[in-house]
């Protein structure tokens, strides 16, 4: 349907449909983020001997996040006197917008995808890199020493970990022979899930993506016990919520990408289970990834800034590069036999 619309003449009707679709996606994502936050808090609570939210919205705390967001909306909007005003206002938007933009290319099922572009993966990586700019801008514009330290750390970390992330994905691209996310899933239908073919790439990808998401053990930019709150220390109210939402939308995006690249997207694990719709499989795999990320967050302490850099450049990058070489070799050998 989307294909046909893209080919048709531009007009008010098309615009209306696209606008509506985008709104629906936004609502779906926001709805998801609401419950992802709740799920994370519940799982963390379960692992940390706590209840988690259980007051607002029944005993499962179903409306807790809604109440939190409403509260943030109602809070006074404060901007420090000496802050760089335009940048301070712009930063949360720069951090937030790309988080939504990347979602367009994720194929949720074989039918449900908003933009089936040829270089989907490249698009994802390129756009997600923009968030760093927002974080650094926010840290700089706050005119706060802690925020500056956090912003600088964020820049260093996100750039250093983007490289192994991209390198680890190249192995998948070599196997699938395409940058299109749909083709990558289709390739897994023939060859089996890439987590089996690319275990090294998967490991590097997961580690690098946790670092990209700024989550424990790589949550240095907002290290609470050291930098108080890092780059968003001066933000409050809805500007702060934008940073927070961006983080969780990225969690959504990263988990989706992991599912698509390594866990076979919407494909069932065995053919005879094919009667269950793809969306269910996608949701299941996706939830496992999210659970895994929360699990990591609850278990590990935080790395130190210099150790983080060392690990990124001296361990992850060489491993990812070796993986590319290995993948190419395996692919050639497979061709021979």
């Amino acid at each position: 349907m989307v294909e046909a619309l893209l080919q048709s003449q531009p007009g008010l009707l098309n615009f209306g449909i696209f606008f509506l679709l985008a709104t629906v996606l936004l609502l779906v994502v926001l709805g998801f983020v609401t419950y992802a936050i709740l799920a994370e808090r519940k799982v963390m609570g379960f692992m940390q001997l706590r209840h988690g939210p259980n007051q607002v919205g029944g005993r499962w705390g179903l409306l807790q996040t809604v109440a939190d967001v409403l509260k943030l909306l109602l809070k006074e909007d404060t901007i420090p006197k000496l802050a760089d005003r335009p940048l301070f206002i712009l930063a949360p938007v720069i951090a937030f917008a790309p988080a939504f933009m990347v979602l367009a290319t994720i194929p949720l099922t074989d039918h449900l995808q908003f933009a089936d572009i040829g270089v989907g993966l490249l698009y994802y990586i390129a756009i997600s890199g923009l968030t760093t700019v927002g974080v650094v801008t926010g840290g700089w514009a706050s005119n706060n020493k802690y925020a500056l330290l956090g912003g600088m750390r964020a820049a260093a970390q996100m750039i250093s970990y983007e490289i192994p992330l991209v390198m680890s994905v190249i192995g998948v691209i070599l196997f699938a022979g395409s940058l299109n996310l749909n083709d990558i899933v289709a390739a897994q239908d023939d060859q089996g899930w890439f987590i089996l073919w690319q275990p090294i790439a998967f490991l590097v990808f997961i580690i690098a993506s946790v670092a990209e998401l700024n989550r424990t053990p790589f949550d240095l930019p907002e290290a609470e016990s050291e930098l108080v709150a890092g780059f968003h220390v001066e933000y409050s109210g809805f500007r702060w919520a934008f940073f927070m939402l961006a983080e969780y939308v990225y969690l959504f995006a990263m988990a989706s990408l992991t599912t698509v690249l390594f866990l076979g997207g919407w494909l069932p694990p065995f053919d005879f289970l094919g009667f269950i719709p793809g969306a269910v499989w996608f949701a299941l795999k996706f939830s496992v990834v999210i659970f895994f990320l929360v699990w990591i967050r609850v278990t590990f302490p935080r790395l130190r800034a210099d150790q983080l850099m060392e690990f990124g450049w001296k361990v992850l990058l060489p491993v990812a590069l070796a993986n590319i070489f290995l993948t190419a070799l395996v692919k050639e050998l497979l061709k021979l036999f």
Binding site: Q48, L149, E224, S225, F300, P301, R302, L303, Q307
Partner: protein, 366 residues
Amino acid sequence: MLRTEEMLLNVGPQHPSTHGVFRLVLKIDGEIIKEAKPVIGYLHRGTEKLAENLQYTQIIPYTDRLDYLAAMTNNYVLCHAVETMMDLKIPDRAEYLRVIAMELGRVASHLVWWGTYLLDIGAVSPFLYAFREREMIINMLNELSGARLTFNYMRVGGVKWDAPEGWIEKVGEFIPYMREQLKGYHDLVTGNEIFMNRVKGVGRYTKEDAINYSLSGANLRCTGVKWDLRKDEPYSIYDRFDFDVPVQEGGDAWARYHVRLAELEESLKILEQAVEQFPKEGEILAKVPKIIKAPKGEAYVRIESPRGEIGCYIASDGKKEPYRLKFRRPSFYNLQILPKLLEGENIANLIAILGAIDIVLGEVDG
């Protein structure tokens, strides 16, 4: 024109990882700390001066508020000082209750340290696990004294309350449970690669430094000095128990971590024996006059608190109030080495170094 300059960074007094109202003024060059100046006194209440106008029994609640994580030892050091001056003989049952209360306090205090240190390093969960166990101890001490933190439990000549029925058995049941949990702690944290990287070789000092800065407790024993007042100058009834003094050679945060965790096990050993030997009957308070008057003269006693050597000096002119009271507060002395440790360090190590010292601001500020 590009140039670099030193940055002045204020850490605290409102900072999540300074464990209270402690302030550090840092001069940093990039990420390297050039100079660190601790600023203390935000929680100063003048305990020592206040004590000069209070009767001895009235001073006890003030000691609760010094090291509020191990108030039992503070209670004890004051009572012990007065008892030494009065040359009192303490009933056995009271002594056992005191030792059990103090060792439970030591376990609780070390648990808080373990939890908050991991919180400083960035792991949230251990904090909650530690507090689960601490809560059980706090509840037991609550049953014993009627308060969760500020116990006001000990009196000159004994203790205020006898153990409620079944309490000793409860402590006995807690010991194997705690041992089991300790194994879990080691599994979760001790072998963690990230944790090891954060603490190994961090905040290292030598034996000489430790002695010159008059460090005590785990901060001293982590350099290989085997010095524990419970063993070397036994007070109360500590000479009746069989336990070790854990020592490490490293002198870094990693060694301090190990010393403290090993001390937990030794405390459990003492508790186990104390519960076993606990006398069935007996007085809990020696025969003391209604109004306690320390004889003219002076006395200094020192005991081993979870944080180190806590001392109490009393000068009395024979009245019911002390003429002068002075506490040697271990956190205050242990904190003195901090500027030396921080100089030239990376700012990322700041929290790991500060946390490993294990300070309680109530005690630092007195």
